[in-house]
């Protein structure tokens, strides 16, 4: 009996999560496609979002200011606008890290001496980041960005860390290749 009810509860939770995910996905796609299609080209060279802006997007300061105005209409508009910006940031971070990893995979394929421990560490960080982005994507609509600042900053830090580990890795590869050319 307990097993059946737990399974049912689990299924309901899973269903809710899927619904929230689908809603967030549809909302972010709709918002980025309809409202601001005139924004800078997203497929071209992408400038990184500076950490102070991540902090600002997920800060509770603006919400506190809006709440003081005591207007439900303004508060709704604020939450809608800020959720859209936060979802865009998550999308951009996910896309950026996916691009970095694809680039790394291509470099690894060309490399002759791959260090397994380094690769495992990079993969684990990548998996952790993708997980955090997934959770953020889900929770932004449910809890609002202002409650997720810590998680967003952690994701941002992880993105930077992976980026720097991979650029070190590429530098090392290039040096080894040059050494190989020099001594062959």
């Amino acid at each position: 009996m307990i097993g059946t009810s737990s399974a049912l509860a689990g299924a309901v939770v899973l269903l809710v999560l899927i619904l929230v995910w689908v809603r967030a996905e549809a909302k972010s796609r709709h918002l980025s496609a309809v409202r601001d299609e005139w924004l800078p080209d997203q497929d071209g060279p992408v400038e990184k979002c500076p950490p102070e802006f991540v902090s600002r997007i997920f800060s509770s300061q603006d919400l506190a200011y809006i709440s003081e105005l005591e207007s439900p209409v303004l508060k709704r508009q604020f939450l809608r606008e800020r959720n859209a910006v936060a979802l865009l940031w998550v999308q951009q971070t996910t896309a950026a890290i996916r691009r970095i990893m694809q680039h790394h995979l291509e470099a690894s394929r060309r490399s002759r001496d791959i260090e397994v421990t380094v690769e495992v560490r990079i993969f684990l960080q990548y998996a952790q980041l993708r997980f955090i982005c997934g959770v953020l994507f889900l929770l932004i609509g449910l809890a609002g960005p202002h409650r997720l600042q810590g998680m967003a900053l952690r994701a941002d830090k992880l993105t930077q860390r992976i980026g720097s580990v991979l650029s070190e890795f590429e530098c090392g590869n290039r040096t080894r290749e040059l050494d190989g050319v020099r001594f062959s």
């Binding site: 601001d36 005139w38 924004l39 800078p40 080209d41 997203q42 071209g44 060279p45 992408v46 400038e47 990184k48 979002c49 500076p50 102070e52 802006f53 600002r56 997007i57 800060s59 300061q61 603006d62 200011y65 809006i66 105005l69 207007s71 439900p72 209409v73 303004l74 508009q77 604020f78 606008e81 800020r82 859209a84 910006v85 865009l88 940031w89 951009q92």
Partner: protein
């Protein structure tokens, strides 16, 4: 060596722009809109006659581009409350009727042209989103209290 030689006049042109033109504008949003207006809509190149004659068109273009990006990131980093107050200063400086100004800005969204090319898309979105909110807040403040809810 050549890069260092080139950077000095750009810095001089930038300082000149800051001292002669930008310092006369009373708010950051005004500076951003002004700098965006020096960009040609067709080519995306920046041009400022006085600056180009004092330095060179190329140096002036670079200085304007740098100043535009800096102004953009500065305004984008504002807390909503600060942006509302900056927008209010801009509105007062325009000497337009506040109600007409707010209605037109909400309708036409002229601040769209204030975004430099190749900046981070999330930051650009944050700025336009905050400006939409700032306009709504200023309109809300103008409305009589009984029609607010």
């Amino acid at each position: 060596m050549s890069a260092a030689v080139k950077l000095v006049p750009v810095q001089d042109a930038y300082d000149d722009l800051l001292n002669r033109s930008l310092s006369r504008i009373s708010c950051e949003l005004g500076r951003l809109i002004y700098l965006a207006s020096t960009r040609d809509y067709n080519t995306g190149n920046y041009y400022h006659e006085g600056l180009a004659s004092r330095f060179s068109p190329e140096v002036a273009r670079k200085a304007l581009e740098i100043a535009h990006r800096q102004a953009f990131y500065k305004v984008s980093a504002f807390a909503l409350e600060d942006l509302v107050s900056d927008l209010e200063t801009y509105l007062r400086a325009s000497r337009e009727n506040p109600a007409d100004f707010l209605r037109m800005w909400q309708k036409l969204e002229p601040y769209r042209i204030a975004i430099p090319t190749d900046v981070n898309v999330t930051v650009a979105r944050l700025l336009t989103s905050n400006l939409r909110l700032a306009l709504a807040i200023l309109r809300f403040r103008q409305e009589p209290s009984q029609s607010r809810r």
